[in-house]
């Protein structure tokens, strides 16, 4: 059994159904990407997993580490070892770097020490007491990842972590993802529009189109199959 098993997931909003039977799985210590165009349902899938206010889940099953995710409230998900780094980072803007991390540590069942996590992010070191709103996008992204890491997750859901970041920061985020996967045994499910990032860090890739998984490919296949990328990803 995989760490995360999603089958026949159907979900949507008041305005209409978005996911029409999504099947995917993530194994322990695996980095998997979920690719697709804008509106394909990537973020909807992420939000369904963590029990966000929207979308509503209509059907299917989501099992994480043997637990039924649909039976848990959104504030219970992180205790199971599943943690979301959301699109747009969502750092608490008026809270300092340390407060953002302390909050995560306060409410996690088995948190990693804040200082230990900060050591992994030297960029954040001299901004500990700075409100997160005064930081650059790349720094905020690192804070969002650090905040998730403090909860000591088994699986980290990363929703477009490289969106709007300069290329050299994208490289840094890629190396952070590899580091937490290899050294801290955190599995990663990565949502990306940027295929290059997915190719750099993930071993396996799901391609989501119009609310369904249409392909599951290896990194080599994704790299070589120009037609596939053209058809579903527009690159």
């Amino acid at each position: 059994m995989s760490l995360l098993d999603v089958s026949e997931l159907e979900a949507g909003y008041e305005t209409g159904q978005v996911l029409f039977g999504v099947d995917l799985s993530v194994d322990e210590n695996e980095v998997v990407s979920l690719l697709g165009r804008n509106g394909a349902g990537k973020t909807t899938t992420m939000h369904a997993l963590v029990g966000a206010d929207v979308p509503r889940v209509f059907g299917g099953s989501m099992t994480f580490n043997g637990e039924d995710l649909r039976a848990h409230r959104n504030y219970q998900i992180s205790d199971l070892g599943l943690s979301l780094v959301p699109e747009g980072r969502r750092c608490f803007r008026d809270l300092t770097v340390k407060e953002n991390l302390r909050l995560a540590a306060d409410h996690a069942g088995d948190p990693l020490p804040v200082e230990e996590v900060l050591d992994q992010f030297p960029e954040l070191d001299d901004m500990r007491d700075r409100p997160s709103k005064n930081m650059s996008g790349g720094e905020q992204q690192m804070l969002a990842i650090a905040r998730s890491l403090v909860t000591n997750p088994k699986l980290m859901l990363l929703d477009e972590p490289c969106e709007g970041l300069a290329p050299y920061i994208v490289r840094r985020i890629e190396s952070i993802i590899q580091e937490i996967n290899e050294k801290q045994d955190v599995s990663v499910l990565l949502v990306e529009q940027n295929v290059a990032v997915a190719v750099a860090v993930a071993e396996r890739h799901y391609i989501l189109d119009e609310g369904e998984i249409v392909e599951e490919v290896s990194t080599a296949q994704l790299r070589e199959d120009d037609e596939l990328r053209q058809e579903y990803l527009g690159v």
Partner: protein, 339 residues
Amino acid sequence: MNAIPIPGTQRSITPAGGIVWGVLVLLTVMSAIVRPGLFVDQVIGGLVYGLVLVLIALGLSIVLGLLGIVNFAHGALFMLGAYFTFQLMEVWGVSFWVALIVAPLGVGLVGVAIERGVLRHLYDKNPLNGLLATFGIALMLGEATRAIWGGTPRSVVAPQILSMSFDLGVTTVSRIRLFTVAVAVVVIAAVYLLIERTDFGLSVRAGVLDREMAEFLGVNMNVRFISMFVLGAAIAGLGGVLRGAAVGMDVGMANQFIILAFVVVVVGGIGSLFGSVVAGLLIGGASYLTPLYLSTLAEVTTLEFINIPGIGGLVPYLVMIVVLLARPRGLFGQEGFLE
């Protein structure tokens, strides 16, 4: 590390601002010299009034920031604090000191009923729903109060130790007013410490900024919603106890104070507790000192028309207009909260 700009420090004082400050200082000195007794009276009166407003505005501000609900019933909770005191002291014969604790707890219980019964169904809905629902609750509590305790003003007999006065030389000040100041300052300091210095407060601040993200990190926000709502209700109730003991109570106090508390929240800046405290003191002080300044000015210049009767009641709204024209977010408000 770059210095973080602190709001208000970048701007130097303009000539016009300098003139305004100069005139205010001059009026203060003149009033203090011409009528020292009245001046001290008004300063203390403004302080007491302002602090009672702060006690109401704190809960209002918390509920608005955290729950996104404009709680129109908050003034009724303040009023209930006063009437519960009347019930406890004058009907059941309990001492003031017991009422000081029990009445706010009772108001907190009413707060639980309101939150569980009505408001929790309205989170994340159109804010107008919350406004209408709480307006309805305010009307119901007002009429219930009239039915139970009657429409005529009521008062309680404050304990001996608080009904005496201090002699300040130029004037005397009743102890109940000083007691009000002391209790309000302690409560405000306690709320500040709770919000800024505890883990609970950190989770509440995070919830104000992004409720769902806080939940993703494992914070059970519902528990915080109800705790903060009840805390806000109990503090408003405490304000009612103090006001009721000092000047008595009537059914109209709910509406009178809720409007002023809204003014305080808006002037202070929505989402800023510190702003509410500053705005409450500003409005309390301005309401009491403006009439004195104008009458002093009228006396000195012999221009009698400057001494406008009843100007004190207008001052909060004038302050609000001026502040909002200069800073639409309020003195310490978040950019973009209501802009």
